[in-house]
Amino acid sequence: MDLLAAGFVYLVAAVIAVPLAKRLGLGSVLGYLIAGLVIGPVLGVVGGETVDIQHFAEFGVVMMLFLVGLELQPAMLWRMRAQLLGLGGMQVLGTAVLIAAAALVFGVAWQASLALGMILALSSTAIVLQTLGEKGLMPTAGGKGSFSVLLTQDIAVIPMLALMPLLAVNAVAGGHDGHGDSGHGAPAADAHGHGHGAPTLFDTLPDWAQAVAVLLIIGGIIVAGRTVIRPVFRFIAEARLREIFTAAALMLVIGIALLMNYVGLSPALGTFLAGVVLSDSEYRHELESDIEPFKGLLLGLFFITVGAGIDFQLLLSNPVGLVGLALGLMALKAGVLYVLGTGFGLRGADRWLFSLGLAQAGEFAFVLFGFAAGAGILGAEVIKPMTLVVALTMLLTPLLFILYEKVLAPRAVRTEDRAADEIDEAGSIVVAGIGRVGQIITRMLVTNGHKVTVLDHDPETIENLSRIGFRAYYGDATRPDLLHSAGLEDAKLFVAALDDREKQTELVHHVAKTYPEVTIHARAHDRHHVYELERAGAHLAQRETFEGALAMGRDAMTAIGYHPFRAEAASRTFRSHDREALDGLRESWNESGVSKSYIDAMRAHSQTLFELMKADRHDTHDRSERGWTPPPKGDASL
């Protein structure tokens, strides 16, 4: 089967299985695995090429770590250090040691046992975070604890990747894997075989020089991320070509992966570092949005190949043993979590959520199995059944969540919510467009102590704003994915302040439709635009020039000799009358746009205003002038 046909089969399987799995509450990872299972072992549509495709798809993992890095702002990590090192660190270490001990008992070599321990200590970030989010359990103490542990595990992957080669039985200095394979579908032997790769200039260096070079390169990534990458992205962003920005993002990730491969380090480590370095840059959300689809597809493809590689015969030959192993693994992991949860103050329902929710093994296990196989630590006789066991634990997770929700949570008392919120929530106000209008709004909100996330497509403005401490991100605010990564679903208020009239209406329409909970304030060009924006779903639309022009009108009156307070009063009268006109004409405009009846109504309003202002000039006391006039002369009652 050629690659295109194979790709088609994979896509068909994914498109059918993943939505089905999600509908059944199994999560997308299981959906991909099942899709692979169906086209591989069950139907036998695909076969030999899966290994090639798997190596190509492994690049998804590199991208995933880049994205994980992007999410990890150093400041946030520092704030969560106690939770990460304590709760998360002890979970990873404790579980890894216990599993390794169990593996030793089963007669596995110590290196392989240790590798298994590390690999299986990880839980499924994809399944757990998604489930917690869907069920609204993220803000609970149990949910927050789970988040800390998952975050630690994501970071722990990096030292694990670094440790694996040291465990290799036939240790070769600078062992490397096939993750960075740029996708020529290289034969498995080349990608994974140790020491068979073409010797690079790097390999000819003495050991100490290699170590120095590695340190230099890591330092180089950090320094370049701070100094070179930002101006480069800015230069690219100024071209305003979205696909080129995407190309640049891919170039960055692939380039770093290649470089890391060259020096014999894990490409995942390199891109992870690059991600962390760029995590507080203004291009973070745009990079995230650009890489995310590639990562999602490649990772999905990877999981399908894992599913396709599952040895069905093996499961059928020993179902009890494998299910028993899966249950045992989950019991062990849950036990460690239960003890840690108790130690960290989780009680009742939260402790159950924490222990059961993280009891499965994660998708990283599949990646690390491949890596360990490449390094010669684990053989097929261990990996094949363990892949099944990992898949089984993931399959059981939705059942555990049901057990938690229906049986355990209703009976248990919830741990009292701690007052301090340690997890950095998404900004509660999002401002799109930081031009003349957005800047004033943002500055006002920020100086009043509110967290504002700013989106704009002008790199220079964005960089200047970041420099003075704004949370500003580069990107086209009309892109749905960017709005999503800016945290719009958690936002209290969305301010649309784009300069482009059509884009602005489009944006308001999209946000109103996609995020019905969010209040939308919109900048309008003129009164017709006000009506358009209201129809698109804005809760408030303000003409951008109105207040400024009104102030200038007032100042003009003062300049030609009116008393300032008189001019102020005139501007207030004008404002309220104009607002009335805006309200009065809305219906007519909504019905027929700028029709004859609309124009007539508008004329009538201008006439009233003129008479109102004229009446004020006469020295009479009539009802149109309500402010600060003495009672009529000769009123006998006074």
């Binding site: 007032r554 009116y562 307070f565 008189r566 600060w628 003495p630 002369k633 006074l638």
Partner: protein, 204 residues
């Protein structure tokens, strides 16, 4: 005494008494004049500047029409914002100690209405009790009010000129420290206090 006159009138353009009184005050050397509505048309008071002003003067005069037995809204705002705790009153608020203050008021009704037997049931000084008490709390010396009654008909009846003359001599007496403060504090009204002097001045 360094004298400061605050005008609080929302429509000086159609004022018949207060605006001329303000103009008259501006014509006297050594009197500082502030048009509150002119300076703060949108009610955004610059508190520091106002505190600086009253600190730099010894006599503070509030020139205003009587609105609902009180002052126009912006002057009330001025009181609320400028007379801060720790500045004007309170343990450490001594900025205004001993300063002289009074209201120069124009009233719509005739003088008879402002008597215990009249329509308003009390003297003007009694009705202005909140201002007197405010001054007391700020350890200022509150003087009797200087008033023009039946102000709406004053121009037609030709009473405005004499009132303006008396106003001028009152301000000058204040400036030159020739006003009998003790008597002015005890009186019901400042009107007539400088009448003799005013007549003399007019003659010159």
């Amino acid at each position: 005494m360094r004298t400061l006159v605050y005008l609080a009138h929302p429509r000086p353009d159609r004022s018949e008494i207060n605006a001329p009184m303000f103009e008259a005050a501006r014509g006297i050397e050594g009197i500082t004049c502030v048009d509150l509505y002119g300076e703060y048309p949108s009610f955004e008071m610059n508190v520091d500047r106002e505190q600086q002003r009253i600190t730099e003067h010894d006599a503070i005069v509030f020139l205003h029409p009587l609105y609902w037995y009180s002052v126009p809204a912006l002057l009330r705002e001025w009181q609320d914002l400028v007379l801060e705790h720790g500045f004007a009153y309170g343990h450490s608020g001594h900025a205004l100690d001993g300063k002289v203050t009074f209201n120069a008021v124009t009233c719509g009704a005739a003088a008879e209405a402002y008597t215990p037997e009249g329509a308003n049931g009390a003297h003007l000084r009694t009705l202005l009790m909140p201002f007197e008490k405010t001054a007391d709390l700020c350890r200022m010396r509150y003087l009797a009010p200087f008033a023009l009654f039946g102000a709406g008909r004053a121009v037609e009846e030709g009473r405005d000129k004499s009132h303006l003359a008396e106003w001028r001599s009152l301000l000058k007496a204040l400036r030159d420290d020739t006003l009998d403060i003790t008597a002015a504090r005890a009186a019901l009204s400042l009107n007539g206090f400088t009448a003799a002097g005013a007549a003399k001045l007019e003659a010159v």
